[in-house]
Amino acid sequence: MNDKGASELLVDGLDAAYGASQVLFGVKLEVERGETLALMGRNGAGKSTTFKAIAGLLPPRAGRVMVRGHDVAGQKPYRIARAGIAYVPEDRQVFPEHSVEENLEIAEREGVGGREWNRARAFEMFPMLQPLRGRMAGRLSGGEQQMLTIARSLMGNPAVLLLDEPSEGLAPLIVQQIGALIRRLRELGTTIILAEQNSRFCLAVATRVAVIDKGAVVWRGDVAQFRADPDVQARYLQV
């Protein structure tokens, strides 16, 4: 059942549709433990849909979603979360009328990654949240909310983090902080998939790249290969 021993997440042949219009056509992705994979593509290429299909928020029409060797495709979102997928949506979705600490507490559980992450550890890793722990999450700035959702997603001790456009709408300085944070998480061994349009941000933090276009993965390789291939960038990323 586990054909790739080291892969934390293996997505294969993933089809998804909104009603009658198919959006994903056999998406194939693989991340190994400790990698940060950048999922790049134009607006509407299928990055967010891929994440939603993996996380079970948009049940896929076909394909496999193997988390540490277990196929979770089509299961309910809470089961997929417990299997090790932590999804951080583009629009963050903090619980606005809960305090920062309560947002973390709700998500706190032992997961496939053990019980390494808890609130105390989150406040160490995200020191900027420490003084805000009693504040309503709805009153945080966009950058603080982004930090909170990343911290919250770690509370379930997942195998893989799916971060959807973590830099979107944030000031350059905050984007740098988020980038530094993602690198630090990688150094700690966290496996991450990052969906981004901001390629500078992506390439600064990722180890490998997959490019998605019109609902299918059209290119994959490591960051150095990607940088050396202006053709891919021109064809699939520039508007």
């Binding site: 928020l57 309910k76 809470y78 979360a81 417990r82 619980f95 606005p96 809960h98 709700i106 998500a107």
Partner: protein, 299 residues
């Protein structure tokens, strides 16, 4: 109108104390029912028209347990747990299938439950009025405060209901389960994506709401007649409470329940023929002045 009598009452401490005690006790019993209704609406988005029937079932379960045991504590426990389990059954097998559907469908299914329960009650316990009577253990002389009469059993009821209200408020604001429930009311999709099974949360919330209604029914059994269809009037009052207090707001439901309880007790002196009307007038005023209710979010 006997407004002069109301004027005499509010100028005499003894009358105020008596009416206050009755009004607060009635209000707190109403709160138990209405808080369950508003909790279920806030979290599940379901307008539980069958909530009054769960109140009625609580009263009958209490009677059934009180008969052989003679214990009011067991009666209240039976009413609470019985209604909670019955609610859980309906939630699992009927209501969970219509979440997210329009309110007419909810009304239809809930009305079916109302009719079924009324008939089940008639088959098992008969169509006649029944009354538990105040249990002998509580037949003590009333408290006399400032010349006003506070029946011993009313004081007990107020104490129990206040304890339940405090426990409910503590549970919702200070426990992890309560925080999850409040989060699920706002964004169930994200709660699920964090690994929480919202189906279980919904079932638990419905059972708690049903249990609160059952507790109110059981606690009221000694002071109100227990009869098939007894849930209808408390259901209507509970809806008035949720409108005045704000849909989904438990704090608002408490304020609104006490307002209605006091309207009932003082109104029975000042305008006995217009007590029900006065409740709707208050509701209309709130709708005009603060459409989202006392505890509701604006906008």
């Amino acid at each position: 109108m006997e407004l002069t009598e109301l004027g005499e009452c509010v100028s005499s401490l003894s009358c105020v104390v008596t009416q206050l005690a009755a009004g607060l006790t009635i209000g707190m019993l109403l709160f138990l029912v209405a808080s369950g209704l508003t909790l279920i609406f806030g979290v599940l988005g379901l307008v539980n028209f069958a909530h009054g029937s769960l109140y009625m079932m609580g009263a009958y379960f209490a009677l059934a347990a009180y008969g052989p045991t003679g214990s009011f504590a067991l009666a209240v426990l039976a009413g609470t747990l019985g209604a909670a389990l019955l609610g859980l059954f309906f939630e699992r097998f009927l209501l969970s299938r219509i979440y997210g559907q329009d309110v007419l469908m909810q009304l239809l299914v809930c009305y079916a439950i109302i009719l079924i329960l009324d008939d089940v009650v008639k088959i098992i316990w008969g169509a006649d009025f029944r009354n538990m009577g105040v249990p002998p253990a509580f037949l003590h002389p009333p408290f006399i405060i400032g010349g006003g009469v506070v029946p011993y059993f009313y004081a007990i009821l107020f104490g129990i209901t206040a304890l339940i209200a405090v426990a409910l408020s503590y549970g919702m604001s200070r426990t992890r389960f309560g925080r999850i429930v409040r989060a699920a009311a706002v964004n169930p999709g994200m709660v699920g994506a964090l690994g929480i099974n919202t189906t279980v949360v919904y079932a638990a919330v419905f059972a708690i709401g049903a249990g609160l209604a059952g507790a109110a029914g059981a606690l009221s059994a000694p002071i109100r007649s227990v009869v098939p269809g007894a849930g209808v009037s408390i259901l209507i009052e509970s809806f008035i409470v949720t409108v005045i207090g704000g849909m989904g707001s438990i704090g608002g439901a408490l304020a609104a329940s006490l307002i209605l309880g006091l309207t009932r007790s003082f109104g029975s002196i000042g305008f006995p023929l217009f007590v029900e009307g006065a409740m709707f007038v208050i509701m209309a005023l709130v709708l005009i002045l603060r459409p989202s209710g006392l505890g509701g979010r604006r906008g």
